[in-house]
Symmetry: C2
Subunit: 320 residues, 2 copies
């Protein structure tokens, strides 16, 4: 019912980073594409199979050192339902390898429909007398533009299945300020969303000081990260924008508390395309991803220090 | 590059309504489910096949009188990749039957990722030397929370493939005001989004006075609809909330201009579940949907009057 499992995984690996799986076909090494196209043709199925193999290689390389993966739904939808099958198979493989799965879908809708999204990504759906997981994730990114009744159904599902959500607050892109930095009663919109998230999070308390509703806070806006951390001590941050989007480790240092908790930093292209930057043989793409993940971990841990899970305080005894 | 094709379809049918296809399995008549479960088991595949058959029956019944369908992505994602295959097959069938397809996905992300969503839903993806349509839609609903660079890639794809988008402004749900009604410099957030949509829409001019960027404006908020129509004459409205959500035809009358253009009104459960309300034999579900669609059309047309496509004014001759 919270993000505790994520924090446990982060502490176990001493690594507060997540590998984004945003597999454009251009990123997939030629030898994998050729094999898939030979078997399935230059088709959506061929593309989807190539991406799955690429992802599995990355997961195999990363699962020992990185606690979580974040598949971005758009890059799977781009290859049709065949791509969505690859999303499912990728999630399933990551879970088998013990990784925490954050699906980046930024879903949002009115209550009845949000129930369907919550079921799709975090819950189980009933078909006749059977139950199925349509997709597999431990947490989902969502957009809070529709207010409380677009979030409520997620809280119920998170509670039932021990899952979490991340609400968009301050996104990492250049134009995020057009709406998010504007003030409502002197409080910027991104902070309004953080406030609302704190209220929603009360339904999903966690053992380590953070609730089950986190927020997305872009590494490209370090001042806002620092401010959000100060004002919202119970919100865990999902932090995109590191690496390919330009932010560095010191930009995100303020997200972390004295226990080294408080956030998880995403890198997608930086890890997936490390083999292009290294200019190594493409068959070593997973090795290059591993080396980049280690480099990133070490850089960030240099600012974070040791990660400790705080012991839960024993409930105060009432005076008799 | 705009919503002109939608308006042409509305005028041809003299019907400014769209049938929402939000197929929860509970809505699907028993005889269809039994047939699918007998063949494919009580599985995600069985559910997806049942929904496809249900949708096809609805499309067959409605395509002669209703110009458009609006499949809601959540209800397909809820049945996994098998459900997404049914989304594709439903879209394909609706297109074959000459219907305009609006995919209700409320997608949103940073620029690079939005390009993937735009490709997935409105464009074509390249695989080797081949091109494919991952999903099939003429328009897509999107969320503008990330600002201009989350919308730009859509404008390009709309321009390339003659498609349109609808940006969330004032949604139909009870808590929509929590953020959307709050004021930024005395202008409510939903109006800010309408302003931004007008700017984005300049890249997609249309022949009938409306640009290719429309907005979502809920029928459950008639005052806001009237105000938005007055202030934003170039924005076409996608209007949810009629019927099951409680709004009536007169609530949305203000959306329409003197030519009877300006909006399209959605009904999902009202049409899909008409057979339950009518209490007719479930095998006549498509007939009941047809009767409800006619009733809705007639009720709304009572307020709208005749729909005429304005002739494009000849460009003014420059004085020589």
């Amino acid at each position: 019912m919270s993000l505790d499992r994520l924090m446990t995984a982060i502490a176990a690996k001493q690594n507060p980073t997540v590998a984004g799986l945003d597999p454009k076909l251009d990123y997939v090494p030629g030898f994998i594409k050729r094999k898939a196209f030979d078997k399935y043709g230059e088709t959506l199925k061929g593309a989807a199979k190539a991406i799955l193999e690429y992802n599995k290689g990355l997961i195999d390389a990363l699962c020992g050192i990185v606690p979580a993966v974040k598949p971005q739904a758009a890059y799977y939808e781009m290859y049709g339902w065949q791509g969505m099958k690859t999303l499912y198979k990728t999630q399933e493989y990551a879970r088998e390898k013990g990784m925490y799965v954050i699906t980046d879908g930024k879903r949002n809708d009115i209550g009845a429909t949000m129930e369907a999204y919550a079921t799709a990504h975090l819950g189980k759906v009933k078909v006749g007398s059977e139950e199925f997981e349509p997709f597999i994730a431990d947490a989902l990114t969502v957009n809070g533009y529709l207010g409380t009744d677009g979030i409520k159904p997620l809280l119920k599902v998170c509670n039932d299945y021990d899952k979490g959500i991340f609400v968009l607050a301050k996104t990492s892109n250049p134009s995020s300020g057009e709406l998010q930095d504007k003030c409502i009663n002197r409080v910027p919109v991104y902070e309004q969303l953080a406030k609302m998230s704190t209220i929603w999070g009360k339904e999903l308390p966690g053992k380590y000081g953070y609730c089950g509703v986190g927020i997305v806070a872009g590494a490209t806006y370090p001042e806002q990260i620092a401010e959000l951390r100060k004002k919202f001590p119970k919100l865990f941050f999902l932090i995109p924008g590191y690496g390919a989007q330009g932010a560095s480790a010191k930009d995100i240092a303020a997200a972390f508390d004295k226990n080294g908790l408080g956030g998880i930093v995403n890198s997608s292209r930086g890890i997936m395309c490390a083999y292009k930057k290294e200019n190594c043989d493409e068959t070593d793409y997973a090795g290059a991803a591993y080396r980049e993940a280690i480099r990133m971990r070490d850089e960030i841990m240099g600012f974070v220090g040791e990660i400790k899970l705080p012991k839960k305080r024993a409930p105060k005894k009432k005076a008799e």
